[in-house]
Symmetry: C2
Subunit: 704 residues, 2 copies
């Protein structure tokens, strides 16, 4: 049995839809028709369509291939079918007026239609089956009302513009006629009025749980709500129909096509494999869904947070031991992934681990609000973190150790290129966690959800941490709707060489900042030099050093104007080279340097080299960057160097955590208020209490 | 002179486009055609179109109305024009093969086309001018390649499906032929390859500044870059053409139609009035643009931050005085806005102001990293805040005072309903700011940009603070791409009445929490009662009190099962009533209560009432909410009550600031590193330095 969805989205990517059912609401149908025609052009696919009208309950056999049929049925509706085969024009018009008797209209409608189909089939089947690729469909539509004419005009155009070779109209597709009409491998998309299918209870009620993927094997757990709410009955019928279709080998997606914000894209999203609607499939994927993983991480994280700091430290030390013991296996897995220099994985981790204290739960502030009313602010874990990292698998144990130390649940999404390494590292992490029974607190997401799908889980994830390129950060910032994102974008670091800079220091600092590891985000990108220093021995010395180190120099516009020949092609001043390349620009003053940094920098790390303390302090106070440095290398801008222990990353965002972020970046606070029957009215004008707002001593913080 | 854009977006809303120019790239044209046909259905409008091909340089007069013409020209191209007027079919095919000689192809192409147009005009003008509304266009296209045939097939369908009555093909529209073709009131949309028009320098270079709106009066400030880069020449020609069109009374939008992420929506966005592309208009809006305001707030904020805390306090006190002095004028303006009870505006502000300390710049941490290498972490302002508030104008001075106290630049966007109040309050704020020359630090956004437009200014705004409904927060979270958002969503606050609760306290606490001000986000919504307390005098006492206070009771499912008659209709347990309504549910234990709160709560404020300290501490530690309270009213969850001074809001987000947020929520940190020629290699294995990472005493913090 062929199921093209199997092995996709999880199993939906690159599917080949054969049937698309559309709800028979004109307003939305117009949109959907436009969308399908759009997609069918983009994807260069032929779609089989169905305009579903709930007034109808018949499906038309799919062997009418090459026939263009669109049926629409309303209370007072007309069906017009027109077709044209290549050069030969044949036109037949069917006017079908459905009686206004509502109770009878279903049967009447379908009877009428079936007679039309039969007629068509008898009359034109052979001709329509012509193999001529130039077959084009043409239409003319007449309606009683102008409005409807307009609507159908557009539907017809959208349909016929895309060589739709079969257009099928149906409602509930479950009767003796339809039994043989669906073929294994067909897929059905039902556009509905609700977000997903809610099976456990009426949608909108407390226990209603939207279902992403439904497997028939799970059916025993389904109980439809006893009290039918709006839309519930219809949904039940549709779910049953979907299950029936599934028995015949036809997968079904039921998705919301009427939500104002998404209806314009729902079909596109599904065709592109996004996780939209409820997918009915016979093939159950291995392992838990990402939603289940999120729940495991949440409850595991809560258990982790209740452990003593020593217990969390034990887990981390055990992880460190495991990483050492299993070094060979890790490197083997890593080798399988065909990347990363060997030994890079385990070695730095141990060093970091040794530094991790269990800081969570520390008191930050205590206030006596009034007599017997005491307020305390304490640190607590953020909740569930989703860390998305590219290629480098050594990120995994580092991030896991940070999450464990801070008491957070963790979802990890690694790159496919490092899947073997990630798998073994995650197994070791879970092994370490299991010594205190919190194995589930760290989850590796293996399902095929794309980053964009994960970013939608805003009820499940409290903080998103991208670890990778600044493009990854930007993509995630765009995709994350409502979930805060912590990450670093580019590091365009400057070094301002002031006129009172010491000759020896400058060369050392520039070399260290630029040449030691030019790919680092805290490496130097632009040297700003005071005009007075041009054509001095100091300047020559810097240039000589850069030549020896084979650093390619780019001249800023002012610097270039001093030169007879520009040393290299001009690049925008706001460039992160990440390589042995350096931009040099001339400035007139410390203020000029600051202005340049504010205009072209990325607020990461900026340095002044000078012996003048006053100028240095001016620079330190006025440069609006995460790290501002005096007479030291840019490269010190790093969590380990700053003594923060393991590093979450270097944040260029301005809230929550800025610059090198240690464990504290994974903590938030909560307020505890302890009273004795305190109410606001006690504090009113004639009340018995007054606000004191006295600071109380903070309990000693347990560092190291 | 009629300009339908005037008075819109700023002047673009509900415009009536008459010409749409599309770039002659086939791939994108397909998309755009789909989109336009989509829009023309949705908006019920007729659009005049133009398929632009850069190989061509002619525009076709618009008085060819009712004629369906599509021209396409490529290196080896064929033009086929077909039209059909109502029942009367006329078909003419023009095969025009453009020579392969590239240098000549422009002229040849246009010559060919012009001859076609002339022929058409002579032959069919009258017939095509028929007023018959049923005019439909039909097509048949033959191409040399199948691929092109397919593409144009779809274009034609999209075009003809929407009663496009004039389809115009053009490139550069500036010659003697076209001079009289544009009519005043026409609008042109040019779909380009770049984001906006960059006039000051080649796009992508350092000084390139994307221009949102271009006024001919500003033209003197425009200098095209001397070195032409890729695409620059074409853009210059287009800008000149746009200016020429503008002289004739035709407004022009040049927008990016090829960006992969936006190309599918660019026309829709422009038609919907979003701020996309560069708008060429003759009518200059009053006042600065929002981008200029952002820059003013940035530089004003930086100046503000360099003031002494005492100076900032002076500004705030002066503002407080002004608010008192100008009380009558404020209330008059407020009355004009026909809302808000009088006196509500100024009175609470003064109280808050008295509490504001100038905390910015305080040291948080000092570390001796190594010999002579010292790290300091200090608080600094976040930068530029955008506060979007609904209706309540009393928010303005409060927020302004907070921004001033914290040294942040501020953009304020208020509701239209309170525009008079906002205007006078903003004027007073600027008056207060001007005593220290920082008038521009607080800006009121008066332009018609929608919230969504403002949320795109990610380079300008560092933190977005919505003050209003939770819907506003959700909308902004969706719109804010990359800008962090701080705001509160709903407050579904619980009170758990434990079996060992004191009888007297419970009634007092429930009354205060629920009845004092039920619309507050920190008001009680759900009372969880231990099962043992049902049918006890304590329970009857609570119910009696609620009856006296006229609180409508909703029963949770478990509580309902204890009752013969459910007191009120069932609502989802996760409901914020915001009114004199209370949900009551029964729980079996403190763990059961915690589980309920985690499942149905909003992590805002949750209370336990008990005399058992152990149970209370368990609840305090395990409930995962911003504020967890023992034996006190939910209503204490408030910045003023907590002694934080003025309140930024109550944050339900988990990062940066959580729960009641005071001034500190508007501060971030920066790291200052002071060294003496320190480089990383000093710390290598054979280096002379070792990391010390010793905590140094923190300079005393200046509170109050």
């Amino acid at each position: 049995r062929f199921d093209p969805w199997v092995g996709k989205i999880p199993w939906r990517r690159e599917w080949l839809p054969t049937l698309v059912f559309l709800l028979g609401e004109f307003q939305k149908s117009r949109k959907h028709c436009q969308e399908i025609s759009h997609i069918s052009i983009l994807k260069k696919r032929t779609f089989y369509w169905s305009i579903v009208d709930l007034q109808l309950n018949r499906i038309i056999p799919r062997d009418h291939s090459r026939m263009g049929i669109v049926h629409v049925l309303t209370n007072k509706c007309v069906n017009i079918i027109q077709y044209k085969v290549h050069q030969m024009t044949f036109s037949e018009e069917h006017h079908v007026i459905v009686p206004r008797n509502k109770r009878k209209q279903e049967n009447n409608g379908s009877t009428c239609l079936i007679s039309i189909y039969k007629k068509l089939q008898t009359k034109f089947y052979k001709r329509l089956d012509s193999k001529d690729p130039l077959t084009l469909f043409q239409h003319r539509v007449f309606f009683f009302s102008k409005k409807k004419k307009k609507v159908f005009n557009s539907i017809f155009h959208a349909l016929t513009g895309n060589k739709i070779t079969q257009l099928i109209l149906t409602g509930v597709y479950r009767d003796e006629v339809t039994n043989n009409m669906l073929q294994p491998g067909d897929q059905i998309l039902v556009i509905e009025k609700v977000e997903n299918v809610s099976l456990t209870a009426p949608p909108g009620s407390d226990d209603a749980k939207l279902i992403d993927i439904f497997y028939p094997g799970d059916q025993q757990s389904v109980t439809f709500g006893t009290k039918s709410r709006v839309g519930m009955g219809g949904m039940e019928a549709k779910v049953k129909a979907a299950l029936w279709a599934l028995q015949g080998g036809t997968s079904v997606v039921i998705a919301n096509g009427t939500h104002p914000k998404v209806s314009g894209h729902v079909i596109t999203d599904i065709v592109e494999g996004k996780k939209v609607g409820t997918f009915f499939s016979e093939v159950k994927p291995p392992g838990p869904t990402v939603e289940q993983q999120g729940e495991m991480a949440r409850s595991g994280g809560r258990m982790l947070a209740t452990l003593e700091p020593e217990q969390r430290a034990e887990i981390i030390h055990h992880l460190a031991d495991l990483l050492t013991d299993q070094r060979d296996e890790i490197l083997l897995a890593n080798k399988k992934d065909l990347e990363e220099a060997e030994g890079r994985l385990a070695a730095p981790l141990l060093k970091y681990c040794g530094l991790l204290p269990g800081q969570c739960g520390a008191g930050l502030r205590r206030t006596q609000i009034a007599k017997d009313l005491e307020l305390e602010q304490v640190t607590v874990p953020i909740g569930v973190l989703l860390v998305i990292f590219e290629s480098r698998p050594d990120c995994l144990p580092q991030v896991a150790a940070l999450a464990i130390a801070s008491g957070n649940g963790l979802l990890l999404k690694g790159g496919k290129e490092a899947s073997h390494s990630n798998r073994i590292l995650h197994l070791l992490t879970q092994e370490a966690l299991s010594i205190h029974g919190v194995k589930e607190a760290v989850q590796l997401v293996n399902t095929r959800e794309e980053v964009e799908d994960l970013c939608r889980l805003d009820k499940m994830i409290d903080l998103l941490i991208p670890r990778g390129s600044s493009q990854l950060l930007r993509d995630i910032q765009k995709a994350a709707k409502g979930i805060p994102v912590m990450g670093h974008s580019e590091g365009i670091c400057h070094m301002y060489v002031h006129s009172e800079a010491s000759v020896d220091k400058v060369t050392r600092l520039v070399r260290d900042s630029k040449c030691e590891y030019p790919a680092a985000c805290n490496a130097l990108e632009t040297m700003l030099i005071h005009r007075d220093l041009l054509r001095t021995p100091l300047f020559d010395q810097i240039i000589d050093m850069l030549r020896v180190e084979q650093v390619k120099i780019h001249a800023g516009p002012k610097f270039a104007s001093y030169l007879a020949f520009s040393p290299s092609e001009v690049k925008p001043l706001r460039t992160e080279y990440g390589d042995l390349e350096l931009c040099i620009e001339v400035v007139d003053s410390v203020q000029d340097a600051i202005d340049h940094i504010h205009k072209y920098g990325s607020s990461h790390t900026d340095v002044i080299v000078t012996e003048n303390e006053k100028t240095a302090e001016f620079f330190l106070q006025h440069v609006d960057s995460a790290c501002v440095v005096w007479n030291a290398s840019t490269r010190f801008s790093d969590g380990y160097r700053f003594g923060l222990g393991a590093e979450v990353g270097i944040s260029t965002s301005r809230i929550h955590a800025r610059g090198p972020v240690g464990l504290e970046g994974l903590l938030t606070t909560k307020w505890l208020l302890r009273g004795q029957d305190h109410v606001l009215s006690d504090f009113s004008e004639h009340g018995s209490l007054k606000h004191l707002h006295e600071n109380l001593p903070i309990p000693q913080r347990n560092t190291n």
